[in-house]
Symmetry: C2
Subunit: 141 residues, 2 copies
């Protein structure tokens, strides 16, 4: 409740509105430390907002991502998951066992700068998932 309240002025400032649906979805994201699929968000948010629709959840998650309040992530199965945007990080995931670890953005910072100067682009997103083999699964290879 409080967690999502702080986002209201951010939305207002951009001409958007705070709604019970957005409150509930932000609340769910805030209080889950991990990536959630749209249907996971739906199930949890539904308990706070009767009549909530899955279509609204999909649209809201996309909306929050566009406005920098949530981060989308491709975790490898082709489906999007989301999390609250509170700290910059990336992920490394094992192709074999699915094990996953976080990587500080700091580690990629110099590469981001190199990319920017080489391309002229100004990079905005920083939530990438890299794939590989974890230490354990390398042994089995």
């Amino acid at each position: 409740m409080s967690c999502s309240q702080e986002y209201t002025p951010q939305l207002r400032a951009r001409g958007y509105r705070m709604t019970p649906q957005r409150h509930a979805i932000l609340h769910v994201l805030c209080h889950s430390g991990k990536h959630l699929s749209p249907s996971e968000v739906y199930v949890r948010a539904q308990k706070q907002v009767a009549g909530l629709t899955e279509a609204t959840v999909y649209r809201t998650l996309e909306f929050l991502a566009e406005n920098g309040l949530a981060r989308p992530s491709h975790v490898g199965n082709g489906r999007l998951v989301y999390e609250i945007a509170n700290h910059e990080h990336h992920h490394i995931k094992c192709r074999n066992c699915g094990d996953e670890m976080e990587v500080e953005h700091n580690l990629l910072k110099s590469m981001y700068q190199k990319l920017e100067s080489a391309s002229g682009y100004q990079l905005t997103d920083s939530h990438v998932t890299f794939f590989g083999l974890c230490p354990d699964c390398q042994k089995g290879e």
Copy 2:
């Protein structure tokens, strides 16, 4: 035809089979320099293999990706696209106008090594899309 023929032994060696469907889909990927969506692949491959199913296209693209013959890519709309795996590269895409450019893997190589030593993971995939603002769209900001 010839392009896809060369993949036959690779598949055989792993206990898989070359089929008209896989031929056609590999042919389509080989002769299109760009990322294709499953349905784009379907439309083109269908002309060579009557009766080809969309389900088969989805399964085949995933199969080719798992075996390193094709590269899947998340281009930002949440949908997967594919291309033939012939050279290592990445992409930078503009969040505003959609403009996209290729980036040599070389530019990220040292970062990949840093990631590997920091995490203990052995990175396998190298086909990442970074997002930002292109030079033109930065001016409009």
